[in-house]
Symmetry: C2
Subunit: 234 residues, 2 copies
DNA sequence: GTAATAAATGTAAAATATACATTTAATATG
DNA sequence: CATATTAAATGTATATTTTACATTTATTAC
């Protein structure tokens, strides 16, 4: 499958810095990861995270946003640095340190065409293909950190549309933690944080009765954070 | 104070990767940070974290251990990656990404002489001098992460000698969280984790009665982690 | 108007966290 | 050797949080 790639290996006499993006999305209550079919040698045709070398005149975060933009067309996406991967043999071609950054996007917002154009595909989190190099490790680390961060930040809101219902929010957390939650207890908990604003609209796409839409109140969230509170949900 | 360093600035045509170490230690119940008086231009004479460029044939973690060893003489120290700092202008001399790693060491183990030789000094955490570049930021980030991690890992044990007393352990957590803890509740909590082994020895350095020494049981800790438990203390 | 469906809600029991004061072991001192 | 001194060690009652669990409600489709 993978052709002989020996030609592409080169002497490691220079240090490179790359950034790789772990792109999470939510679709129909499932947490997904965006992976790309690699188009260049070596390892052409293999599944991979999307990444790029960091430019000399470019901040690290800017590089992450650029990669994300080039790959998806999206801008100003929620993105957070995970950690850097620096085993000396992690990349057979270069001596390369990769700074992994993870992004959360709303799949509904997403221009599906751009995905196709880039040979990209959304995979469900528990059904991922093998990825090149140490990208599998990056994904596992990112998942762990996503779960961890979701305990203390309303990070999940990045994955939902601006207006969302409580059942949607619950599905999101169930997807992140891979565990069913009790709807009564879940509501109690999220309301207790005082960061949801109930709207006068309903979403009737999933039931006859319809579920009220809410939006997130960032001001109250900021207050909550300053008061040292833990946004622990699952 | 700082002399004119213009001579040292150079064209940024190459990417460098460095690692900087945030070295925490515990001494007399106080959490301290090891900082170094910089000996080379630019910014000679200023306080700084200790760091080094990462070598081409060196894993990132190995680079961290090397820096730590060169600076303190210690080996196999607990060390954890914090994050990478990559603003394009963060270092006026080079285009340099720095991977920050933080270490926890037992100041008693420590060869005080080596510290002096390197122009290093232990500062109390709430009385730090200004550091060069973005090192202040690194320290603040590291402190936040130390506090965060201490909630879920018995990270604090790295800062204590192999044998320690409960009051010592409590002082450590009080230093990390900068807050007084109730001795009865603290004991209940740490014992509930089942990771302490009581020894038949006492430490009588702080009281006539003496306090029993304990050691940490890594096996039980591993079990605890696998069962998904939270090692939350403060 | 009846059936169907997901949304919305409350309460009691269990577990956990908090607040708080006394006794104990060992040494030092007169 | 009796007493004073000191930090170590311990238990309990209360408040808070978490968990478990079943019914009613609003709306649409037939």
């Amino acid at each position: 499958m993978t052709q002989n790639t020996t030609d592409f290996y080169q002497v490691k006499e220079k240090m490179y810095v790359a950034t790789d993006c772990i792109i999470f999305g939510l679709h129909e209550g499932k947490l997904k990861l965006l992976v790309f079919k690699r188009k260049v040698e070596p390892l052409s045709g293999e599944w991979s995270l999307i990444g790029s070398f960091v430019r000399l005149d470019e901040d690290l975060e800017v590089a992450g946003q650029r990669v994300l933009h080039e790959a998806t067309g999206l801008e100003n996406v929620f993105m957070q640095q995970l950690k850097s991967y620096g085993k000396k043999d992690r990349d057979p071609g270069y001596r390369c340190i990769s700074v992994a950054q993870y992004a959360l996007i709303r799949i509904d917002d997403y221009n599906e065409q751009v995905v196709e154009e880039h040979g990209a595909k959304w995979f469900e989190i528990d059904d991922l293909p093998a990825l090149i190099l140490d990208h599998d490790l990056m994904v596992q680390d990112a998942l762990r950190q996503l779960r961890q961060n979701a305990r203390y930040q309303p990070i999940g809101f990045e994955l939902l549309p601006e207006k969302f219902t409580i059942p949607q929010l619950q599905l999101l957390y169930e997807a992140i933690y891979q565990k069913e939650l009790d709807p009564r207890n879940f509501r109690k908990k999220v309301f207790s944080f005082n960061v949801l604003e109930k709207l006068d609209e309903k979403d009737k796409s999933t039931s006859k009765r319809g579920a009220f839409l809410y939006k997130f109140n960032y001001e109250n969230y900021q207050k909550l954070l300053k008061s040292g509170y833990n946004f622990e949900i699952a």
